[in-house]
Subunit: 403 residues, 2 copies
């Protein structure tokens, strides 16, 4: 397996486009993206667990009921959530895209992201669709730009792998960067692959994978109303279609995982206001569920996140977050180390502090990527969670997001 | 019932003191507090649910096993948590205080608050105890100062009420102001009363009350390792001892509740970095548990807290937090209004936005005390939760707390 260029256009038969159509006032920001498969594809998706759901989710769920789709259209700048006419507007957008592409509206995935509770006028989107369709090509980056909100960087990745002798590709784009705390679901992620895989297996792969990837990351503890991850698989690679959980399925799962982990890391690195990304690796847990609770509790702690911003090795806050995680553990066996490109330092052993050089710790924590290593000594289970620091800029960005 | 002066010294037979003994480097900050009852008192307590617990909690729990206590000693500047010799040190502090007071060490409540994971040297505390005991008097404020960490204001309250013809008093002090998210427990709160009440009833009153007061507030989502609320009742008011859940018990519960609600409000108003306090009042819930989940979810949302800092009426974030609260509700019946001394404004009805004046909303949200009113239209249950805004100063305070 190797990383390749192309994002969502890396897989055969997929094209994409992104434009500014006018949902956002700022004309320098793209606000509409389209991803298209030249042939109908197997499709799978997971959605937010928030009871308040964006209107596009209802429409997309209905369209994916048959496990097939051919296009994804997504606008930024407005989430189309908590609007009386939301479902109607989302359906209209899907229909307009379908007509322009000459496909069934039932094969269109529709998504929106942005501010909640402001009516979404579909006019600029409908007007922009012809230009969008005309511009379809090898433009993964434009599509990635079109779905961004407060993100500061394009997030895309693709890898190449082999299934039964056939070369396959899988790639994705996604957006962060606030209201990110996926829970039995995920944020906006669109993945394409030319690997042939039956819809039920594709859903199984995605649903299983997100438990250890997107569901294990948090920017701010707020589970979005519009979270959605979609995978389209159009079979253009020519491999024998994956229809059971054999070796080919395992290969596909591994490739999918390499894409979702890479996207997870990109999301936290570009979290709202973030200056550092955090990876909490828990080993020696009694069960995987316990290890996960602990890893996620640590990356969600406002106190620990603030300490990481200040490059302060305040490990007591790690212990505190472990203690209220709800996991079963033996506190007197807990060990904690901090690690980065500048080195690794042990700060806690058997649940108590060990003498360490504050100077060395500071040097390690001044790096942009910090690993928080936790050993539990209670068993063999492990888990990883991703997060970011809490900074002045997070407060600034969210103190007046709507203006 | 009326509010009176005196804090923890308002009730007959209670004295207090607070000094700087040297646990904290800054000599202008008091770091040791003592509360003393002239007679042994009924005692009740609740503790943090964090599995990582401060060493003083183990000692206090053992000392309160008989439902009796006569003194409370508490230092700030060091939490005595995650230290190998923690329990030994906490026991030594209790013993030193007992000797100086001429009481049984088993009747001493010991507490600590401050940084986690740094060994606590008991020497300055032991050396300070004689001065502390000598200074006992009507000094509730000094004691309140002695238990403060990042708090900027003294927190104390007292009320007078009548039980069976006898005038009783109940008062308390407490500290915030970070790592505050009580969970089946509470932060540091010390309450004294001269009302005569048997230990089991006192425990019942406290355990019941905190479910709707301290457990319903959050500063930052981090449940502390050292949370503790203690009530001492010395019976000096001369009322007939409360030994069952009759009318006198109800009167006592009401007085206790007025003290705990007042302290809860003081805690959030002085939350780390806070410029505003938030009160989320949920009505029309299917059950009390659902109403509580929603109220707490809203005051815990980093996004909503940031919006309140910016006086931005971003009600979509209220809906989002309601949606991921885990409560059962009908999203299409939800209503939201913001209220303050400057007025009240409806922003959401039947789960969707209503037109409102941004100017009026801004004026309302620029006040220091904001009520977030949520109607669910699902039943009769209600709940209130308290919180504060998320500000630059929260990040600043916690970016480098240890230096």
């Amino acid at each position: 397996m190797k990383t390749i260029a192309g994002g969502v256009c890396a897989a055969k038969g997929f094209t994409a486009a992104g434009i500014h159509c006018g949902v956002r006032r700022n004309k320098t920001k793209k606000d509409l993206a389209l991803i298209y498969s030249e042939a109908p594809a197997s499709a799978a998706a997971v959605y937010t667990a928030n009871l308040v759901k964006g209107a596009p989710i209802a429409v997309t769920k209905a369209h994916l009921a048959d496990g097939k789709a051919q296009a994804i259209i997504c606008n930024s700048g407005n989430a189309n959530t908590c609007n009386a006419d939301g479902v109607e507007v989302a359906a209209l957008i899907a229909k307009s895209a379908a007509q322009a592409l000459g496909i069934s509206e039932n094969d269109v995935v529709v998504a929106s992201t942005g501010v909640i509770g402001q009516p979404l006028d579909p006019t600029p989107i409908q007007k922009g669709i012809p230009e969008l369709v005309k511009g379809l090509g090898d433009h993964s980056e434009d599509a990635a730009l079109g779905i961004m909100t407060t993100d500061t960087r394009v997030k895309q990745i693709a890898v190449e792998f082999e299934v039964g002798g056939a070369v396959c590709r899988i790639g994705g784009i996604c957006k962060g960067s606030g209201m990110i705390h996926p829970n039995m679901a995920t944020m906006l992620v669109f993945i394409t692959t030319d690997c042939a895989i039956a819809p039920p297996l594709l859903q199984k792969a995605l649903s299983g994978d997100v438990q250890n990837t997107f569901n294990m990351l948090s920017i701010d503890g707020d589970t979005s109303t519009n979270d959605m991850a979609v995978v389209l698989a159009n079979g253009r690679a020519g491999n024998k279609e994956i229809t059971d959980e054999g070796g080919d399925f395992a290969v596909f799962m591994k490739a999918l995982n390499s894409v979702t982990v890479a996207l997870s890391r990109m999301i936290v690195a570009d979290g709202e206001g973030a200056t550092k990304s955090l990876e909490c690796i828990v080993t020696g847990g009694k069960s995987e569920a316990d290890a996960k609770k602990i890893a996620k509790s640590v990356v969600c702690s406002s106190l620990l996140k603030s300490a990481m911003f200040g490059a302060d090795a305040n490990w007591g806050r790690v212990l505190c977050a472990i203690g209220y995680s709800g996991a079963e553990l033996s506190v007197d066996k807990v060990g904690v180390s901090f690690r980065s490109a500048a080195g690794e330092i042990e700060v806690c052993k058997n649940g108590a502090g060990v003498p360490f050089s504050e100077e060395t710790a500071k040097k390690i924590l001044l790096e942009a990527e910090i690993d928080i290593l936790i050993t539990l000594g209670d068993g063999e289970a492990r888990a990883t969670a991703w997060g970011c620091d809490l900074t002045y800029d997070y407060v600034k960005i969210n103190g007046d997001y709507r203006t």
